[in-house]
């Protein structure tokens, strides 16, 4: 069933009796050509693009809980492509371009809102770094604009640009950046994949891989063995846990990242703003809540909840740049588990086990990457070669010294 304005009006006039479930709830079959583990944004996007762009048949997505219940349901919804390094920027720009056409592509309202993102500059050195970053973005076909203090004052008149401690010296803006309704991304991809024949199997936990003579033959699950020609893993924070079942150790640690939403306010913040002298980023959701976050807690965790020192640190960052927001009450906060890689960049690759493929290491930047991650992983699964924009995201880059270390922190996952 295609969604359209006409359909909404028709259903409104006929008692909303014609809506059908957006996806089926099929029983797992004995064998699929491709099994994707992980029904989050990346896994569902992978299945969608496999079916749509790479004409693959007999695909299943296996999810331990319900789809969209992991990090795609618990993030700060920001999309952008303001990266510096060659290995990253073309990929994230590809992702932003896919976001721009996504709703028409999968016929679902994901509320993609290109309200712009602004990175504030507070020192001369930071200005130099952001000019360099902006030039790298433009060289890769993205948009970037260096804004003066006056231009920022015009857009955000309540910002104190003369603050003695953190004066605002300008900003790097990406006007095509913005926010997306995160749950709708999972649902849209799920519906799009399902309508093209992909089986989305929920409440089905993978308990192991069946590997014989160096080849992966399928997955053992809580609902029995499911054979597969190829298996793709896209489970974010649970990556190490899952891959350990194939006796693999990954170049990553799992960390908890907290995010926060205030009570609903009238429109106060038109775009996404990041504070350059601390780690704080904020946008206002369409319901009016201020959605903000900062650093990860910094220690290995699978708890999906963080601790109070980080809450204090994030709120201090917010108060330093937006003192007015201190009047808003916090509505809720949550923690998600991030697959923090050793250089802060992701992996989309095959493993040393034939037929077993891996997508992970997204750190706390996986949401914006969802479309390109799905597309590139589908490309790898279908063609056994990396997508041109993702060819740097290989397992062997650590051994070869080809790290994509956007922040220059070395092999210290909690600093990326």
């Amino acid at each position: 069933m295609r969604y359209s304005g006409f359909k909404v009006i028709k259903e409104a006039l006929t008692g909303h009796k014609g809506w059908t479930p957006a996806w089926r709830d099929p029983e797992p079959q004995n064998h699929y050509d491709i099994v994707i583990i992980g029904g989050g944004g990346h896994g569902l996007a992978t299945a969608y693009y496999l079916a749509k762009e790479f004409q693959q048949k007999r695909i299943a997505v296996i999810e331990k809980g319900w789809i969209g219940g992991g990090n795609v349901g618990r993030n700060t919804t920001i999309i952008r492509s303001n990266y510096l390094l060659d290995g990253n920027e073309p990929f994230y720009e590809f992702s932003l371009k896919l976001w721009e056409g996504l709703e028409q592509d999968f016929n679902y309202n994901a509320m993609v809102s290109q309200r712009g993102i602004l990175n504030l500059i507070h020192s001369d050195a930071q200005r130099d770094a952001f000019i360099r970053r902006g030039n790298a973005m433009i060289l890769n076909g993205a948009d970037a604009e260096l804004l003066s203090t006056e231009q920022i004052k015009a857009r955000y008149p309540f910002l104190n640009t003369e603050d003695a401690r953190f004066p605002i010296k300008g900003g790097l803006a990406q006007h095509r950046g913005g926010t997306v309704r995160h749950d709708a991304v999972a649902w849209g991809y799920a519906r799009g994949a399902d309508s093209r024949g992909v089986d989305i199997i929920q409440n089905c936990e993978v308990t192991g891989f069946r590997i014989e003579n160096g080849k992966c033959l399928g997955v053992e699950t809580s609902r029995g063995f499911i054979g597969a020609g190829k298996v793709g893993c896209a489970v974010a924070g649970s990556s190490s846990r899952l891959m350990s079942k194939a006796n693999m150790r990954l170049p990553m640690e799992s960390h908890v990242l907290q995010a926060f939403v205030s009570e609903g306010l009238k429109p106060v913040l038109p775009g996404v703003v990041t504070f350059g002298a601390g780690h704080f980023y904020v946008s206002q959701s369409d319901k009016g809540g201020l959605v903000f976050g900062g650093d990860i807690d910094g220690y290995n965790s699978y708890a999906q909840r963080g601790n109070l020192p980080t809450v204090e640190d994030v709120c201090e960052g917010g108060m330093a740049i937006f003192p007015a927001f201190g009047r808003a009450r916090l509505l809720r906060m949550w923690g998600g588990i991030m697959d923090m890689s050793m250089d802060g960049s992701p992996i989309i690759d095959r493993t040393h086990i034939d037929g077993l493929y891996f997508n992970g290491g997204w750190c706390y930047g996986g949401f914006k990457a969802t479309p390109a991650s799905g597309f590139s992983f589908a490309h790898f699964l279908a063609t056994d070669t990396p997508h041109p924009t993702a060819k740097a995201y290989r397992f062997d880059r650590f051994e070869k010294g080809l790290m994509i270390d956007e922040k220059g922190m070395g092999n210290q996952p909690n600093l990326h």
Partner: protein, 95 residues
């Protein structure tokens, strides 16, 4: 989280910085035939378990001691805190 420092008693985890898996104590032998591979695995690969985890914490805003903390990554419960020095010597490290 409260860390029961072996010398100082209970301290707020915010006083500490986190390094990672306590296996980082076991630096590979640089003269080994397999040194390149060993150091790659030492530097980049992690067990990253969900459950009990031995890890290195540094009391940066305190007495600047290194600790080995046994902590559950699912519940954040801490079961054991030792001076990293003691752990390293027990594993045969001289310094």
């Amino acid at each position: 989280m409260i860390i029961e420092h072996p010398l100082l008693g209970p301290r707020d985890a915010a006083e500490f910085t986190y390094l990672g898996d306590a296996n980082l104590i076991d630096r590979p032998d640089w003269q080994s035939e397999t040194a390149a591979k060993d150091f790659y695995e030492y530097a980049y690969l992690r067990d990253n378990p969900a459950g009990w985890h031995q890890e290195l914490w540094f009391h940066e805003a305190g007495d600047r001691s290194w600790l080995v903390i046994t902590r559950n990554t699912v519940t954040h419960e801490i079961s054991k805190v030792e001076l990293a020095r003691d752990v390293a010597r027990r594993r045969g490290r001289s310094t």
